[in-house]
């Protein structure tokens, strides 16, 4: 959020806000000045007060003044805009790298140690480089409080943004490139922690163990994986139909699918679930749009899918 109390949420805030201040300041000055002059002229030179107009053809010196002065002012604005933006284009070498996956309609994050989350955990005062990977269509990664935004372009190399979080807190992340049905629900949170706390979160195996312990219930691990990778943006577990079919009660049941244009009936088993994750359009559930889901090959390992299957068995 753009509000004064969190102005220093990242290292870019100062440069960007300074550019805002300069441009908006000059703009308001012109807007108010010219509007007042115009209204004054409309009043003062109304034909009631000024029955005969004085014919003036123009003034070369005035034309020169109001060409040169705005030119200089726009160059000042251009400079501040450039100066605030330039540092965004090059990430420092020692920046911590996190991969961001964007797909219809969620973001998730992969850390160097393989940890995957649906919330962007960040250490304070540490440069972070986000490698942006769009899995299907264009998305745009936008953290308003940090004043950063970068489109995520499928297939583009060297698609990144960087910043240094400077204030502990939770900040909204929006997708700002229109990406279809649930574009307005494609958001996530950046959670900035003290460096030490972050370190603990990253490496603390006991915390991991605690998380695992919380997952003692059958299928809990699978559910966590699915949350992190964003399955529930399109699939429900309560029978409601979204963009994709609901998971409710699918295990072991028969579904009608379209394979190569032919309708056939199959039973949902391990092979079918695995195939639906790696090659979602091969056996498409009847009544759903082709091409909306992309393959998770390389995103999920076979062990992950085994956990997901355990979870789906519990969704009755």
């Amino acid at each position: 959020m753009y509000s004064p109390e969190i102005t220093q949420a990242s290292n870019f805030v100062k440069g960007v806000d300074q550019a805002f201040l300069v441009i908006l300041g000059i703009s308001f000055l012109f807007l108010i000045g010219l509007t007042v002059v115009m209204i004054w002229f409309l009043y003062r030179y109304n034909r009631k007060r000024n029955p005969v107009a004085t014919q003036i053809h123009g003034s070369t010196s005035l034309e020169i003044i109001w060409t040169v002065v705005p030119f200089l002012l726009t160059m000042v604005m251009f400079y501040y805009g450039w100066a605030g933006w330039k540092p965004m284009t090059k990430a420092p070498k020692d920046a911590m790298e996190i991969t961001v996956y964007g797909r219809m309609w969620n973001f998730n994050y992969e850390y160097a140690n393989g940890r995957r989350t649906d919330t962007l955990y960040l250490p304070k005062d540490q440069a972070v480089k986000l490698n942006l990977k769009a899995m299907d269509v264009l998305h745009s990664f936008y953290i308003p409080a940090f004043r950063v935004k970068q489109d995520m372009v499928p297939g583009k190399k060297d698609n990144f943004m960087w910043f240094e979080p400077q204030r502990v807190g939770n900040y909204e992340i929006f997708c700002t490139e229109y990406c279809g049905l649930s574009h307005s629900y494609m958001y996530s949170t950046a959670k900035v922690m003290e460096a030490a706390e972050f370190e603990k979160w990253m490496t603390d195996t006991t915390q991991l163990a605690a998380e695992v312990a919380a997952m003692e219930a059958p299928g809990a691990a699978g559910k966590k994986i699915m949350q992190n990778i964003g399955c529930f943006a399109c699939h429900t577990v309560d029978g409601t139909k979204l963009v994709g079919p609901s998971f409710k009660g699918i295990w072991g049941h028969e579904v009608s699918v379209i394979t190569d244009g032919q309708k056939r009936t199959i039973t949902v088993d391990e092979d079918y679930i695995k195939k639906s994750i790696y090659d979602p359009n091969a056996d498409l559930v009847d009544g759903f749009m082709k091409g909306l889901m992309v393959s998770y090959q390389g995103q999920l390992k076979d062990e992950d899918i085994a956990e997901i299957i355990e979870y789906l068995k519990t969704v009755k």
Binding site: F20, S27, M38, P70, G81, L138, D151, E177, H183
Partner: protein, 537 residues
């Protein structure tokens, strides 16, 4: 034709040629009738666009579902954009007022190619039907946004190709109108009508015509590339085929940015006519206004990249596009200074067209100045693709072009219909519309600064305040619009008959009868050395 016969003939509205009624209109090559054909077709599409816009604002009154689901909302803003851009504001002033007035203003009986002119209107209608058909036949209305960005548009819209083809046909209508105007302005000026005596509205049509002629073919190139990809699987834009989605954005904006200048230049031209008339004063800096028109037409080609600062262009390209964007702002500023200076020491008759013209200057300044925020790199990164852009864009295109259109229709109404509108209702309509406009779009600047993305079906609770105000504004604006349209329609039928020159203007269209005769002039006028479009005594 003999002089006597021409003088005896009825005016262009009542004239009866080979066909009667509607057929007499849709087969007419009279530039005035073609202008009105455009007016009625554009107003029809505009009404549809307004209703869609109102539905969107109603949906955004509260978070979550208000009146429609997400899919419907996404289609609504797409169809709203496509209709308003390609069928309303791009043809807008040139097709309506350019057609009606330009030949009279330069002392000609018609445009250079009257049949081509009628063909342009048919192409416009064909384009409208093609695009609408593409929108509604197939898998439901498209939900891509009016920009049709790849690769989403390739995934969802099976009808992308026909839609772009329709846009191309609309574009062709635009190219032919531009060509026709260029030839007319070059070849058909009456004796003594030197380039330096050309009314400023004609000058802006001239600049616009060049843009129409040179920028619109890019739509054709894009169409060919999309066809290659869709029909033969050549990877151009779709990354799945090895194409580059950013290339699509470049091609889209190489046309669509100059198109913004097609929308705004004639609007500036209309304002440049109205202010001297109501100030009863020589326009200030005639040559400076012409120079700024041509500068906008030229530099306007070179700034399309400012739509793509966050798309991932090279840093050098971003630098130059930002610099050029600031440079293109200067000619617009020069125009504003000259308009306001024209009022200085005038004898100002404040009438409805001048209310619209003065409020045009105000909203256009806000639109232009907020454009500086978007032209600067650092600030654009923050507000790009947020509600801020929607506010800026509507301030320019609806505030700029829309207000100028309203100014123009009230200004030239007595000439077109030979009757005067009801001034009280016209002023009331302006006031309500103006208040509604400010309430509708101003909160979007704030929402964008706060970080609310555009094309958002649903939003977080913190964005609600601004959205409520904006939705209320849309209702006020719609009320104003109804007052204005009802008043104009009633006045066109029952208004008091208008004089030839009710505003005491000096341009040629006011020296012919209201409404003009079929051939405009009984005798081609001659402009004396001392005469000029703004030579007030």
């Amino acid at each position: 034709m003999h002089k006597e016969q021409a003088a005896n003939m009825s005016n262009y509205l009542t004239y009866q040629g080979k066909y009667k009624g509607l057929l007499g209109w849709i087969t007419s090559t009279d530039h005035k009738r073609i202008g009105l054909l455009y007016l009625y077709s554009i107003l029809t599409m505009f009404s549809v666009g307004v209703l869609l816009g109102l539905a969107m604002k109603l949906e955004l009154l509260a978070p979550g579902k208000t009146i429609m689901d997400a899919q419907t909302y996404n289609s609504t803003f797409t169809v709203h954009g496509v209709i308003m851009i390609f069928m309303v504001v791009v043809p807008g002033l040139p097709a309506v007022f350019g057609n009606f007035l330009m030949p009279i203003m330069i002392g000609a009986k018609d445009v250079a190619f009257p049949k081509l002119n009628l063909l342009s209107w048919y192409l416009y209608v064909a384009g409208v039907f093609l695009v609408l058909a593409a929108l509604f036949f197939g898998n439901g209305a498209p939900d891509t946004g009016w920009t049709f960005y790849a690769p989403y548009s390739f995934k969802t819209g099976t009808n992308l190709l026909p839609a772009v083809f329709g846009a191309f046909v609309l574009g062709f209508s635009s190219i032919l109108t531009g060509l026709n105007f260029l030839v007319t302005i070059h070849r058909m000026r009456c004796p003594g009508m030197k380039w330096t005596k050309l009314p400023l509205f004609v000058w802006t049509l001239y600049g616009t015509a060049w843009i129409q002629l040179l920028a619109t073919p890019v739509v054709g190139i894009t169409l060919v590339l999309i066809a290659l990809e869709r029909l033969f699987g050549v990877g151009v834009f779709d990354p799945a085929l090895g194409g580059d989605p950013i290339l699509y954005q470049h091609l889209f904006w190489i046309y669509s940015h100059p198109a913004v200048y097609i929308m705004i230049l004639p609007a500036m031209g209309a304002i440049s006519e109205i202010i001297p008339t109501f100030a009863q004063k020589q326009v200030f800096g005639y040559k400076a206004i012409i120079a700024s028109t041509m500068a906008i037409a030229f530099v306007g080609y070179l700034v399309w990249g400012h739509h793509m600062f966050t798309a991932g262009m090279s840093g050098t390209a971003q630098y130059y596009f930002s610099l050029l964007t600031f440079i293109v702002a200067i000619p617009s500023a020069i125009k504003v200074f000259n308009w306001i200076s024209t009022m200085y020491k005038g004898s100002i008759n404040v009438q409805t067209p001048l209310y619209w013209a003065a409020s045009f200057i105000f909203v256009f300044m806000i639109g232009g100045l907020s454009g500086l925020v978007l032209g600067a790199l650092a600030t654009d990164v923050h507000v790009h693709d947020t509600a801020f852009v929607v506010a800026h864009f509507h301030y320019i295109v609806f505030g700029g072009t829309g207000f100028a259109f309203m100014a123009a229709i009230h200004y030239w109404f007595p000439k077109i219909y030979g009757r005067m509108y009801d001034k009280g209702w016209a002023n009331a309509g302006w006031l309500v519309f103006f208040i509604g406009f400010l309430a509708l779009y101003t909160p979007m600047f704030y929402l964008g600064m706060m970080g609310m993305p555009r094309r958002y079906y649903d939003y977080m609770k913190e964005f609600q305040g601004g959205n409520i105000l904006s939705t209320f504004g849309s209702w006020i604006l719609a009320t104003g619009l109804v007052i204005i349209i009802v008043n104009l329609v009633k006045s066109a039928r029952h208004g008091t008959p208008a004089e030839m020159d009710p505003w005491h203007s000096k341009t040629l269209e006011w020296q012919v009868s209201s409404p003009p005769s079929v051939e405009n002039f009984d005798e081609i006028p001659e402009i004396a050395e001392n005469d000029g479009p703004y030579n007030y005594k």
